[in-house]
């Protein structure tokens, strides 16, 4: 009890000291480490020296122009991830759902003989089991996958996750990867919602990456027209209740697995889901000054923004439309026939009737240039790069830059990176790393080798941040309170131990042999992993744990689990 009280007293006594540091600016060395942590995923061995030689200002400038940075090492690592370069149509073809494949084969009369026979048997009174529950059928399907060079759809997201891990670890374009992570989370999509699994590689490649440092309005429009977002937030099935859908059923409903027909069947009517999240989460923010009426009007503007063949084409479409139908499966298209062409009123702007696709574009323009959007995006960026409690003065300046530069993300970021708030001790090592950041920074600082595979991703998932695994559109929290809890912290420590002991599948760490001088070995690793930024208490506790016979794995495992390493 006495000890506890002493601890608490000590805790309180340290408070004023901490406050005294306010507004102090960082040393040159600290600034470099800070930039490598925040504009990237931590310093690899030698990075600090490289940035010092080049000059920090120049490094930041370069990071803001990723297209000018050669990146062959990362590109080489990505070579084997074939989904990255495939169109959505190709993904539908090469990574079919087993059930869908089965049905297509049935419909084309191409089912292997064995399964035809089973199907015939199943026609008798005894109810059949799921054909894929049957060992023999599963084998036939497996063989079909193999013989035709097909893969399971789960593979798509596994490869996409691997690409994110590999790029974050190996890419020289660190800020680009940080911003890809930021925007992917801002415009969150859940891989397990229906067809999104097939739509996400294009989302990462064509929607997020090219626009991560460009104009916000361009990025916003790209997400609005991305099949992944149209599917995730249901806009693809939002139609004017008055629309004459005519032949729609014939053309747009090719062979599909039964389980998908249900969601797929176009429901006559407006779906407000995208309209609401567009304003609440993508642009204005929940208190950004829109009403339920605005939601309804915006939803009307986006009717007809849909996906051609949202679940892949198949035989019927190919027969009807040939190659073009096949190639365009899973792409954006505007279906004028189901668009509500009446007049609308959005946030006080009149949108005249007969605008067609322009209605939605006008809405995006209004939202991208709304003052609430500038404030909302500035707040989120400052929270991400500076601190969980964004200083209001900085948010105001950043929002002003956002507005003045017509939503130029690069200019907006500059306003943050060169601010006194970003470069103050107050911001230094205060952000709790999210699990993705923790795993990547551990691998980078140790100079470990990784294939980015499921062995690595499983740890990120265990700690609670599976990539493309957040169900709801708000995305993962960027504040410490969401990540600091008993279960999560325990997994962080276990991850550190697993990594140091080479128990993370697909990732290899080579640690130097220790020579018995524990304090020296420990200090070397504290320098490598934390640039020596460790409290006296932690250092002393660490040292007490080490005995001459202890291997480096123990030193490193413990350091990765310290409170200090959880921060950046």
């Amino acid at each position: 009890m006495r000890k506890t009280v002493a601890l608490i007293l000590l805790f309180l006594l340290t408070q004023p000291l901490v406050f005294a540091q306010k507004h102090r600016s960082l040393s040159e060395e600290q600034r470099i480490i800070h930039v490598l942590n925040r504009l990237g995923f931590g310093a690899r061995p030698g990075d600090v020296e490289r940035v010092k030689a080049m000059g920090l200002e120049k490094y930041i400038e370069q990071q803001l122009h990723p297209e000018q940075i050669a990146d062959s090492a990362a590109e080489t690592r990505l070579r084997e991830l074939s989904v990255l370069n495939m169109t959505t149509a190709e993904l539908y073809e090469k990574y079919p759902q087993p059930g869908q494949l089965l049905r297509q084969l049935q419909a084309r009369g191409m089912m292997p003989e064995e399964m035809q026979a089973d199907a015939a048997k199943n026609n008798q009174n005894q109810p059949p089991a799921n054909p894929l529950d049957n060992e023999k059928n599963r084998k036939v399907i497996e063989e079909y996958y193999r013989d035709n060079g097909l893969q399971r759809p789960q593979r798509i997201i596994a490869e996409l996750q691997a690409s994110r891990i590999l790029r974050a670890v190996y890419s020289e374009r660190q800020l680009q990867e940080v911003m890809v992570d930021f925007w992917t989370n801002h415009f969150n999509i859940f891989a397990n919602k229906g067809a999104d699994r097939w739509l996400l590689p294009a989302y990462d490649r064509d929607t997020i990456r090219p626009n991560a440092l460009g104009k916000f309005s361009t990025l916003l429009q790209a997400t609005a027209q991305s099949p992944a977002m149209l599917f995730y937030l249901d806009n693809f099935q939002s139609v004017s209740p008055n629309a004459n859908q005519g032949r729609r059923g014939g053309l747009l409903q090719p062979l599909r697995p039964q389980q998908q027909q249900q969601q797929q069947r176009p429901r006559r009517g407006i779906n407000e889901n995208y309209a609401r999240e567009l304003m609440e989460l993508h642009t204005l923010g929940v208190d950004g000054g829109y009403t339920q009426k605005d939601v309804q009007e915006v939803a009307r503007c986006f009717t007809g923004w849909t996906i051609f063949q949202p679940r892949g084409g198949g035989a019927a479409v190919n027969a009807m439309m040939g190659e073009a139908g096949r190639r365009n499966a899973g792409t954006f298209f505007f279906n004028a026939r189901v668009h509500d062409d009446g007049e609308k009123m959005v946030l006080g702007h009149k949108i005249s009737s007969g605008g067609g696709i322009k209605d939605g574009l006008t809405v995006l323009d209004i939202l991208a240039h709304h003052p609430s959007t500038a404030k909302f995006i500035a707040t989120k960026l400052v929270r991400h790069f500076v601190s969980d409690t964004p200083p209001q003065s900085l948010v105001d300046r950043v929002a002003a830059t956002f507005t003045k530069s017509d939503g130029d993300i690069r200019e907006t970021l500059k306003a943050i990176f060169f601010s006194k708030e970003f470069n103050s001790t107050e911001a230094y090592r205060v952000k709790i790393k999210r699990p993705f950041e923790l795993v990547i920074s551990a691998i980078r600082t140790l100079g470990a080798d990784t294939n980015g595979g499921p062995g690595t991703h499983r740890w990120i998932e265990r700690m609670g941040e599976p990539l493309y695994g957040f169900q709801t559109p708000n995305g993962y929290s960027d504040a410490a309170e969401s990540w600091v809890n008993t279960g999560g912290l325990l997994e962080r420590m276990n991850f550190g131990l697993a990594l140091a002991n080479n128990r993370v599948q697909g990732t290899t760490v080579s640690l130097a042999k220790t020579n018995g001088e524990q304090a020296k070995v420990m200090d070397e690793y504290l320098k490598t992993l934390l640039a020596g930024d460790i409290s006296a208490a932690t250092r002393e506790a660490l040292l007490k744990q080490l005995e001459p016979s202890d291997p480096a794995t123990k030193v490193v495992g413990l350091i990765l689990g310290t409170p200090e390493f959880q921060r950046q």
């Binding site: 601890l7 249901d234 039964q258 107050e426 695994g469 410490a480 600091v484 279960g487 506790a541 409170p563």
Partner: protein
Amino acid sequence: MNRRFFLKSGSVALASVGMSLSAPSFLGRIVLGNTPVGGKRKTLIAIFQRGAVDGLNVVVPFGEANYYELRPSIAIPKPGNSDAAINLDGFFGLHPSMSAFKPLWDSKRLAIIHASGSPDNTRSHFDAQDYMESATPGVKSTSDGWLNRYLRSKQDKDQSLFRAVSMTKTMPRVLQGSAPAVAMSNLSEFAIRAGKSSENLQGGFEAIYARETEDSLAGTGRETFEAVNYLKKANPAQYQPENGAQYPRTPFGTSLLQIAQLIKAGVGLEVAFTDIGGWDTHVNQGNSRGQLANLLQQFSSGIAALYQDLGQRMDDVVVLTMSEFGRTVRENGNRGTDHGHANAMFVLGNGVKGGKVYGQWPGLKSDQLNEGRDLALTTDFRDVFGEIATRHLGSSDVKSVFPSYTVTQSKFKGFLS
């Protein structure tokens, strides 16, 4: 040995960097953690059947002619035939693979609420699960789950670290929120896992987090090891299934077994959650046998084993099952069923007034169906959740648990007194 709990809410003060003026919330909330904190506390075990179970083949309305009319190959035969439904009350019957539930029905410990679910008409698994867990149907922006709001609505005087446990890999939507909860896929994994060195390394981390005073993470670290050590000492794994209970050897069976162990160990468990998938039977669903039958067998025998295992402890436990929506009344062209609307929920416990199918039965004639195709809804799931939160868990602030919905005693079905 210092066996004190440093407890705090989910929020973390960023004290080390002077970002927060408030003292860490564990100050002044230090309680003795030496004795089991559970005592006779009430516990809810919530089980989610993900994928939308076909409630009409689970609690079979064999008294409805239309049931047989619309389901020529997948209907469960009337009692008296082979492979027939287990007669409950002359109108409803249980799927024959759920015979493990029959004794619980007969002893009036199992209640059914039929034609219940979400008033929202979505047929998306994703949205419907979301709504069922947030308990705000139609509103997607709700950030927390209803069980978490329940925890927040009621002070836990024992401040148990294991008050809310989800036996799942990640925290389910229903338990997300600001009240502390623990998610773990397996009890044996809630530890430092480093083989022979585990103890040594845990000691190392404990020493680091015990000494650290500047970093707010340290409070969570101390709390973590209190929990790990507490669990180690409580050693729930020592409790073997009692009364001859046999759990299915599946992840679902293991989850239930471990929930029972936590209850027996007296760790203060108040809300437990787990889930079981595979109910999305669009194709070849089967009738008295087949894929749904196999899954129902696992589901019911698991819950029955839990009941048997906990024995007298079921006085203080309620088991609740739920699934995001029901399935179409008419079977589809693939001898399966598609996404529908209302469904059946089970509530079990020694305090449950069972042996009865609650809720108004809307009928299966075509004009009685929801949108001409699904079982219509007569009980909002919030009335079922609300009754359990109020009458079993003893929540006095049920209004905050179910925002923008009026939960009143008059809407309760009365399966709890």
